[in-house]
């Protein structure tokens, strides 16, 4: 079984931009979202596939070629959905690389003991603020 698909779940601002950029880099991208309207956010240069459906339904996930995924990026607006999907990708489909966006840093504990990587906008913003603040101070 060849694992060559790059799957993005959730076509919000982050998901759609990751999908577009990876598509530009030549990845075989499939983006999944429950509402078709969300795909408007994809740029014109996106040349991957769009799939409408609720990814927490296993049949939708299988339609997205999850079994052939080398990477999954999960960016829906619900942390609970994101962790649930990450666990399915990890424990059921053994996807080699899994990234998940989480708003609540406390939820990261549920990823312990796995290789799933969490992206926390909160932590990133905080770091950025501290950096900017330092820059201001040294001026």
């Amino acid at each position: 079984m060849k694992r060559n698909k790059f799957i993005v779940v959730g076509s919000g601002r982050l998901g759609s931009n990751i999908a577009t950029q990876m598509s530009e880099l030549g990845e075989d991208v499939i983006i999944v979202d429950a509402t078709e309207d969300s795909f408007r956010k994809l740029k014109e240069s996106f040349s991957g596939y769009q799939l409408v459906g609720d990814a927490t339904d296993l049949s939708v996930l299988e339609d997205s070629y999850i079994k052939h995924a080398k990477t999954v990026v999960i960016t829906t607006d619900s942390d609970n959905v994101n962790i649930f999907l990450a666990h399915i990708c990890y424990y059921i489909y053994n996807v080699p690389k899994i990234y998940v966006r989480l708003a609540d840093t406390d939820k990261g504990g549920l990823l312990e003991g796995t290789y799933i990587k969490a992206i926390y906008p909160f932590t990133l913003s905080l770091k950025e603020f501290i950096t900017l603040n330092k820059e201001e101070a040294t001026k």
Partner: protein, 220 residues
């Protein structure tokens, strides 16, 4: 037992009442403020308002080391997160989740939830197991529905009454593995004759099930 009950509306109310009578230590968490109040006054019990998928809510409710957690919310995903948080971070021994999507029964179990309950799944199983149309036939499927066990009562006007098994021209893929002739249990051989009132325990495959029940029920 220390039991945590999260989410749910009337099913939560019912279960709380039942468990309270048996004097269990109950911790009730419900996100719906109005319903939380209702359960609280109705059952004379403290209810923690809050989202049970958040670790600090389980922590505030002192849910740690509980024997059982029941997740009864209407969101399958939330129930999953509650159960996994309970197991991973609160050392709760057994987790039970309600699910709406029957496909999640197998999935949740694979992911580590101890028991998963779906009313649709249970309904389907009940219909499969106890053919509600014919009360003389009961079936039970084993090995992921590759094998079926059929229990059939023999009535006096059936064609095969008083015939020896070796003389009956059975359809293929059938094995009468046991005859219950009250109070005896008979493991049949070729020369065993079938009697009126016998209960036959038949092992077969789902494909042949219909043909077999039709064959057995043939009248004289």
């Amino acid at each position: 037992m220390k039991i945590v009950i999260t989410g749910g509306m009337h099913e939560a109310d019912f279960i709380i009442k039942m468990l309270k009578e048996e004097h269990h230590q109950l911790i009730v968490i419900n996100q719906d403020k109005e319903f939380a109040e209702y359960i609280s006054t109705n059952n004379d019990i403290a209810v923690f308002p809050g989202d049970p998928t958040k670790a600090y809510v389980l922590s505030d409710a002192e849910a740690d080391n509980a024997d059982v957690l029941l997740a009864l919310s209407d969101s399958d995903t939330d129930n999953y997160i509650t159960c996994i948080t309970a197991k991973k971070q609160f050392n709760i021994k057994r987790t039970v989740s309600k699910v709406k999507n029957p496909k999640n029964v197998e999935l949740f179990k694979k992911l580590g939830v101890d028991s998963v309950i779906s009313s649709t799944y249970l309904l389907a199983q009940t219909i499969l197991n106890e053919s509600s149309v014919e009360n003389i036939i009961k079936t039970l499927s084993i090995e992921d529905e590759k094998i079926v066990m059929i229990e059939m009562g023999v009535e006096e006007n059936f064609m095969l009454v008083n015939k020896r098994i070796m003389d009956i021209n059975f359809p293929k893929n059938i094995n009468i593995s046991c005859i219950f002739r009250d109070p005896h249990v008979i493991i049949p051989k070729g020369d065993t004759a079938i009697k009126s009132g016998d209960k036959l325990i038949i092992i077969s495959t789902p494909n042949e099930q219909e043909e077999i029940t039709k064959f057995i029920k043939k009248k004289r």
